[in-house]
């Protein structure tokens, strides 16, 4: 989507992050002058500033990685974001603006929970049964994710239905349908939520405290999925076709690519990963499914954008947003700084990433990477039709 070499992309992403921190610091200073607090961190003239940006950032960082518990939370968030980010990235690589990961996440999670609801009694209540339950659940999550992902793909490929619209619609529909399914079929007791997943079917917490609901046994395969997606894009005809379709659909067609098939396959692949994210959420994080799920699918878009849609880049991008996300809670509890700050920072980062021109300008002003910046400009402008 954004034109630049790999190295430059990395610099742009890093620069965006730094600039976002600076912009966030300004926001903290200004808003700190309006906030009411008992003991301002410092006063200047008649103004009293409630927030100290340095302190805010260090509390955030410490809150995200400062203890095994919080590091677990961060990694848990990161795991979900990697899956969602990769799910989004593969479709973005194909030039498809897929916003539907959230819907696949919802249904993937629900499918996992439904499997537990219907089969928990059939399997032994021990590690073996638990493993089976987990495997079945994740398979169901992937399958439902694939189906729900393929749907907008089919609609786009064979009915020319704009994927931005259909995926937004399918997200709304997923929310409503999932709610109704739980309310009507999977409910146990009065609350609209599914059966609790038994402990023996939950991925074991090793290294990190169980309270953080994180298992490294999930993170490792997740990393493998990101690496695998990268490998697939660069080392398989399907990956090549996905990229050609994204760059130039007419060239793809010319080279014998069945673009409809590629669209559907890409969406399906994305759906599988999005569905797995839902499964991980249910099995590892929440332990059951209920209608108000976090916006992991949307966060996946930001992760993918920051990573320039590169599945390997998704890993650090997800870690960064994971830190922001889980550090923000500490911020709120310890300093009383609204944790919505994390959302603002996320938006600003994406804004800077969206404008490489601006970042290059900043780079030149600062005298940084002069040569690489200018050569990149030459490269992109010379033949800009």
């Amino acid at each position: 989507m954004v034109d630049a070499s790999g190295r430059e992309r990395l610099l742009i992403s890093l620069g965006s992050f730094v600039l976002a921190l600076v912009a966030g610091a300004l926001l903290l200073l200004v808003s700190g002058a309006f906030a009411s607090c008992e003991s301002p961190v410092f006063g200047l003239g008649g103004l009293q500033f409630c927030y100290n940006p340095i302190e805010v950032y260090s509390v955030m960082l410490n809150g995200a990685v400062g203890s095994p518990y919080s590091l677990g939370l961060t990694l848990r968030e990161t795991t979900l974001l990697i899956l969602a980010g990769v799910a989004v990235a593969v479709t973005f690589q194909a030039g498809i603006f897929n916003i539907g990961t959230q819907g696949q996440f919802i249904f993937g999670g629900l499918a996992g929970a439904a499997v537990v609801h219907y089969t928990a009694d059939l399997l032994p209540a021990n590690v073996v049964g638990g493993g089976g339950l987990f495997a079945l659940g994740m398979m169901a999550a992937a399958l439902i994710g694939a189906l729900y992902g393929a749907l907008p793909g089919i609609l786009l490929a064979y009915y020319d239905a704009n994927e931005v619209i259909t995926t937004i619609m399918l997200n709304f529909i997923a929310t409503a349908v999932a709610f109704t399914i739980v309310r009507s079929f999977l409910r146990e007791g009065a609350a609209v939520q599914t059966t609790l997943i038994p402990d023996y079917a939950t991925p074991p917490a090793i290294i990190f405290p169980s309270a953080s609901s994180f298992s490294i046994l999930i993170l490792v395969p997740t990393l493998l999925i990101a690496v695998g997606a990268h490998y697939l894009l660069n080392n398989s005809p399907l990956g090549y076709n996905i990229r050609v379709s994204g760059e130039q659909p007419t060239a793809a067609e010319y080279s014998g690519v069945d673009s409809k098939q590629v669209i559907v396959r890409t969406f399906t692949l994305s759906g599988v990963i999005g569905g797995l994210a839902g499964g991980v959420f249910v099995f590892m994080v929440l332990g059951y499914w209920q209608p108000s799920v976090p916006q992991v699918g949307f966060d996946g878009i930001t992760v993918s954008v920051l990573a320039a849609n590169n599945p390997l880049g998704v890993i650090p991008a997800a870690a960064l947003f994971g830190i922001l996300q889980s550090g923000s809670v500490a911020l709120d509890l310890q300093l009383g700084v609204p944790r919505q700050l994390a959302g603002v920072l996320r938006g600003i980062i994406i804004l800077f990433v969206a404008m490489p021109e601006f970042m290059r300008m900043i780079g030149r002003r600062l005298g940084l990477g002069e040569s690489s910046a200018t050569s990149a400009v030459t490269g992109t402008e010379a033949n800009d039709d």
Partner: protein, 340 residues
């Protein structure tokens, strides 16, 4: 509104942990503060405890239901401060507290407005909303048959009443069931309309629902919808008809709308919060207690609006008073669920 942020005090409380000051954490429902009713009222109880009992407190305001467990975990595992009590509110926090409390046997919880069963470190406080709502139904039925007239609103007695719910859950259905029974026991022929917005923080939806009810002739509408209910008051203002508030005396807490609030069915979240904290401070906390507060405890009351409450007819007031006594005496049986 006081911009006081519960967490401001946390810093100072760190040192107090050892010298006996009580630290309390509260996890608000997703709909959040600012509902001029439920959550705000709970916060008031907390403030009262701070003032009168000198406690320190922190608050968690989750963004989605899936964050409840994290906040409970966070507070439970916190060493600095070490919380003496964590308060959870609403039905949505049952499972999160159930799960987390199993991991922290030494941590005390109180869940208000719902119940976690079988844990001796979680005490529950719930209410008999159906009883209080029955009174609201009695009043509504009177208005729907006799009509209502004040300087700011008027209802001609069309024989239609409405109910706006937030999300559908057993607690809110208790409100609806009691209210509907109150109306029907008075007069079978009164048309009863009810709709749920699905959320507790969607005032625009609440307004839309109430608007349709008033335009269908509803003489009065009652809500159990938290912040969503504010929309009902707005619709009442636009329609010039009376409305019944909930949780607090909303003619005071939502004073912008005191000109339409004929009465409110209070539900004393504040005293529930205060009492449970007081128990902890006094060392009387009982983790296995399961209290249901009702009319007899003064936990519910039908209070007439500051501005227009006086226009309620004497007969209606009398009916409410006698009904209240009958309920307390157990002479009226009130359903807790609506038949779908």
């Amino acid at each position: 509104l006081g911009g006081s942020n519960g967490s401001d005090d946390t810093d100072s409380s760190g040192g107090n942990g050892s010298d006996g000051a009580t630290n309390v954490a509260i996890v608000y429902p997703v709909a959040g503060l600012g509902d001029q009713g439920f959550s705000d009222n709970a916060q008031e109880g907390l403030m009262q405890a701070e003032e009168e009992l000198g406690i320190s407190h922190s608050a968690g305001e989750p963004d989605s239901n899936s964050e409840y467990a994290d906040f409970h975990n966070q507070f439970a595992s916190s060493q600095d401060p070490d919380y003496d009590l964590i308060i959870g509110l609403t039905f949505d926090q049952v499972t999160p507290i159930e799960t987390v409390s199993a991991d922290f046997a030494d941590q005390n919880w109180t869940l208000i407005d719902a119940a976690v069963e079988g844990r001796d470190n979680v005490s529950n406080i719930s209410f008999t909303e159906h009883q209080g709502s029955y009174l609201a139904g009695t009043l509504a039925a009177h208005i729907a048959t006799e009509g209502f007239e004040s300087e700011t609103v008027s209802a001609s007695g069309e024989g239609v009443v409405g109910f706006v719910g937030g999300a559908r859950n057993p607690v809110i259905e208790r409100f609806e069931a009691g209210y509907e029974a109150g109306v029907e026991d008075f007069d079978e022929s009164i048309e009863f309309r009810s709709a749920y917005a699905g959320e507790f923080n969607a005032p625009d939806q609440g307004q839309s629902i109430a608007e349709s009810m008033y335009s269908e002739g509803a003489d009065v509408v009652y809500h159990a919808a938290g912040g969503t209910g504010i929309g009902m008051f707005e619709a009442a203002q636009q329609a010039g008809r009376p409305a019944i508030g909930v949780d607090t005396d909303q003619s005071q807490t939502a004073s912008d709308y005191s000109d339409v609030i004929v009465a409110s069915m209070t539900k004393r979240m504040d005293s529930a919060v205060f009492t449970t904290i007081e128990n902890v401070v006094n060392g009387d906390y009982d983790g296995s207690s399961d209290v249901q507060l009702g009319l007899a405890d003064g936990a519910h009351e039908l209070v007439y609006g500051q501005e227009i409450g006086s226009a309620v007819s004497d007969s209606a007031q009398e009916a409410v008073t006698t009904t209240r006594e009958q309920i307390i005496d157990g002479e009226i049986s009130i359903p807790e669920t609506v038949d779908e």
